[in-house]
Symmetry: C2
Subunit: 371 residues, 2 copies
């Protein structure tokens, strides 16, 4: 087994976006101001099914004070994972794709872009894949465990022991999401729809992952269980959750049809040989945007180039073990200026086409790739 | 103008559910355990469009500590309202319906039911209405303002000043949502899918409405603005948000095509004559389930019967002012045992049919109802 190069997906093919044009007949101004700028396709979306459900969850017994002091104490569920899904009519044979969002964000990341274009959730459905979009445990519609905050309010635990709530300032997003070196200074060729940055800001929600949920995050197990319930799935993570597909795969490798790591915050360097051998059993794609070697404005964290290199190292280990992991960096094949929010970039559907092509070659028709 | 009675929607029509049968060809066991029990329709769902966007939001400047101490201080957006939408193919002329959830819940309330049946969101779309499902400001994908919690953690504000986070215990839900008088004792004819109560438990998220968001809730203005952006909409609230359509209507009555108050927690008694005259300009429907005159387990709050009677009084005032407000209580027309979560009850789609019939008569064809 050997990876095929991505180089044959030439620059003209990326920029022409033939597939994109086939499903999008869109028009709209460039300023994104919510509903009025949401674009609509020329062709209807035909779904076999859509809806939502939960995976996982733990019953805990809490006091009246822990529950906010209105009703009686008792049991609630925490650590469940909300999942919204769409299944295309006629797409039954295609691998389902699970899309997990990053830090301070929710599943909204994958929906309508900040400037009103089609999100990857709908695009992958239109390309025939059932799509499942969770909110990470501890965020969005998955909720979180509020007890410690009510206990601090009541004085029964010290406030200093509270977990932090993380949000990224708009000013911090510019360098960290690699839209530009400083606020208000976009890279000349940035693919991010800069006029819609205020809409990206609205996607932010407080993130209590740093102390407010169990370790490791229950999302790992929930993703693994979801893939099993789907009889196999492609797991796609982004940023904070970029490594989650790896973690889920190690819990239940048989349920993984493929892993896609989009701008992962981490590619672990400490996997054992046995773990690497497990990961070598499934196709893995890592996707990174441009301007990686720029300061993030967060000196305590590695640069994106350092993360990219850690992923290159992991890919190397997996390939040495006979696996078929590979890197996709659109910059190397002619598409410059992709940001950290690559699924929202102006060329987001062209990047999606590259991932869909990889799924088609590596996941949907696995027998064709073996020599 | 005079309200037509609901009595002609006879018991056989409700129980036969002809319209329901036309779009649902479902089978599944009664135990709800997430994905495996999600039911799928016989006929595809054909959407002109789907996606999500935000309404409203305020930019605030926060310190590094307030943002969780990872990145730099700066601006974030708070008080925005997330909205997911589906527009049916061919439904352009029909009034859009906005469905707002209740306390400790999110927009998930209106999606797939706990036992895996079709939610009102999809059902109203299949009946031709564009549907918009928000998360209230302060919850779910709308996020909340985390600064005060991080400040308490840092010691810069007293923990005692923190807003409470509310969740309802499973034990409290039994009497308060009128599933049964005590935990484990369902009313013999309850319409709630009792075997799926653990799935309802997973829908719970912490609710910071009591001190953690501005007063009045920014959701009022966001709903009013959303209705205006839609060039008119039917606003539907539930429980905590049951009165929100009234509040939104008073902010911008011209944008209201109709108001549906499902099991409202409040029907205000203190509206001025001018406000009543405004509400008399639009069709209003109030919907209540069964077993209202039972203890809620929350002695500090009014019973549901008291709330029902407050709504009857409000309806009376609006009718006196020449308006067409009316009460729909399925129990009075033969459908017994409906719970507070009426949109998730076993006969949820039959109740939906009653609301859709009202929309058809009072909103879609307003000229036909005038004498």
């Amino acid at each position: 087994m050997q990876s095929q190069p991505f180089s044959r997906w030439s620059r003209p093919a990326i920029l022409a976006g033939v597939t994109v044009a086939a499903v999008l007949g869109v028009a709209g101004d460039l300023m994104a101001q919510a509903l009025k700028d949401v674009q609509t396709s020329d062709t209807p979306l035909v779904l076999k099914a859509q809806g939502s459900f939960f995976v996982g969850g733990d019953k805990v017994d809490q006091t009246q004070a822990e529950l906010g002091d209105l009703g009686p104490g008792g049991h609630i569920t925490v650590n469940q994972m909300y999942v919204r899904y769409m299944v295309p009519q006629g797409g039954d044979g295609n691998p389902p794709v699970v899309m997990v969002h990053g830090a301070t964000l929710t599943g909204k990341s994958w929906e309508t872009t900040p400037d009103g274009r089609m999100g990857w959730d709908e695009y992958f459905v239109r390309r025939g894949h059932p799509v499942y979009v969770p909110d990470q445990v501890g965020r969005g519609r998955s909720g979180f465990n509020q007890a410690v905050f009510n206990n601090a309010r009541a004085g029964s635990v010290p406030a200093a022991s509270l977990p932090r709530w993380l949000r990224f300032s708009d000013e911090g997003v510019w360098p960290n999401f690699r839209i530009g070196p400083k606020p208000g200074q976009p890279y000349p060729d940035t693919q991010f729809p800069v006029s819609a940055l205020d809409e990206l800001s609205k996607q932010g929600v407080p993130d209590v992952s740093f102390g407010g949920i169990p370790t490791p995050t229950p999302t790992h197990k929930a993703l693994s269980d979801l893939a099993a319930q789907l009889n196999g799935a492609v797991l796609m993570g982004h940023s904070q959750s970029g490594s989650f597909p790896l973690a889920a795969a190690l819990l239940n490798p048989a349920a993984m049809k493929g892993l896609v790591l989009v701008e992962p915050g981490t590619c672990p360097a400490n996997y054992t040989a046995e773990q690497i051998a497990t990961l070598a059993r499934m196709p893995i794609l890592v996707v990174f945007g441009d301007y990686r070697d720029t300061p993030t404005g967060m000196p305590s964290l590695p640069t994106w180039q350092a993360r990219f290199e850690a992923c290159q190292a992991l890919i190397g280990r997996i390939k040495e073990a006979g696996g078929q992991a590979q890197m996709l960096s659109p910059a190397e094949i002619g598409a410059r200026g992709n940001s950290h929010m690559i699924m929202q970039d102006k060329n987001s559907l062209q990047v999606a086409d590259l991932i869909l092509k990889w799924i088609g070659e590596r996941v949907s028709k696995p027998s064709a790739q073996k020599k």
